[in-house]
């Protein structure tokens, strides 16, 4: 069981984390924008996260904290 926490306001919606995720469970939000106008990253299936931190390693903006 792993837990992802997103600092949404820092996200620029570049999507590098979405491509890095081996479980393909991340997506850019289709329903909200942050204060800077970017669609922030979301986890669609949190229960499937394995806590590998690949997303956080590829994130240029330190948006993601990973706990395991």
């Amino acid at each position: 069981m792993a837990k992802l926490t997103f600092k949404e306001e820092l996200c620029k919606g570049c999507g590098l984390c979405v491509n890095a995720c081996p479980k393909k469970i991340l997506t850019l939000s289709k329903t909200k924008l942050n204060a800077k106008g970017h669609a922030p990253v979301e986890c669609e299936k949190p229960e499937e996260c394995i806590g590998c931190a690949s997303c956080a390693i590829m994130c240029p903006d330190c948006v993601i904290t990973v706990e395991r």
Partner: protein
């Protein structure tokens, strides 16, 4: 549950001004992780360049000095010689290090100053809007090479690691990239080693990081990472170009 990944302490809470998908942010984090892991934050002094990373002084939690364009290795030399107990690093782009600052880069390397240089090579001038850099690839379209870089009039790209490896003094030269998780891990190792070398007094260490500039390359962030694999690595092979063990 324990935290397995979070923002390193050697980065401030300032929001990075870089474009979406710019890999400067990844390299900033790797430098900060190296500072954290070596426990040197209190005695580290960074030298910021001119270029996209000009505001690096806001992002690193250690003391920072802003050098004039290309002169970061000269400033670092002065700081290190006057305060040899401090850990001194420069963080420079290709316009800064390989163009206007090439003299300082080569001279500092030739003297073997005991400093650490993090060199971001993204094959273009980012901050000024995508002009041709000394590291731009042959055929690469930029604002100032609209028909592609032509060696007849614009010369050939400069491979900094190979150039500096012809000198006697440098202790450590490695080229890495940050376009995949595996490559980021390798880059982390190289950057940490470059700082460790300075702590041990081994001398001049430079890590060249092939970096993406999605905005000025005119690509999506993901496509830009693939472009590094397809175009940049064939011209700039990854690997260790110098590693003096003693």
């Amino acid at each position: 549950m324990t935290v397995v990944f979070e923002k390193p302490k050697a980065l401030t809470d300032a929001v990075l001004h870089y474009c979406p998908g710019c890999t400067h942010g990844i390299v900033h984090r790797l430098v900060a992780e190296a500072i954290d892991e070596l426990g040197i934050e209190g005695r580290t002094i960074g030298i910021a360049p001119v270029g996209c990373a000009v505001m690096a002084y806001d992002y690193f939690a250690c003391d920072m000095i802003e050098a004039s364009h290309g002169r970061a290795p000269a400033v670092a030399t002065g700081v290190k010689r006057s305060m040899p107990e401090n850990i001194v690093f420069t963080y420079q782009g290709d316009g800064d290090l390989a163009s206007i600052g090439l003299c300082e880069t080569v001279s500092t390397a030739a003297r073997g100053e005991n400093i650490t240089i993090i060199f971001i090579n993204n094959a273009i001038y980012g901050m000024t809007g995508g002009q041709m850099a000394p590291t731009s690839l042959l055929g690469q379209v930029t604002q100032t090479s609209p028909y592609g870089r032509d060696p007849k009039t614009q010369g050939y790209p400069i491979n900094i690691c190979e150039l500096l490896s012809s000198l006697d003094a440098p202790a450590y030269l490695e080229r890495v990239t940050v376009n995949s998780v595996a490559h980021v891990r390798q880059a982390k190792k190289a950057i940490k080693k470059a700082f460790q070398n300075q702590v041990e007094g081994k001398g001049f260490s430079l890590v060249e990081v092939l970096s993406a500039c999605p905005t000025n390359w005119g690509m999506t962030p993901q496509k830009a990472l693939e472009w590094i694999d397809e175009k940049m690595i064939p011209r700039y092979p990854l690997g260790v170009y110098r590693d003096k063990e003693d």
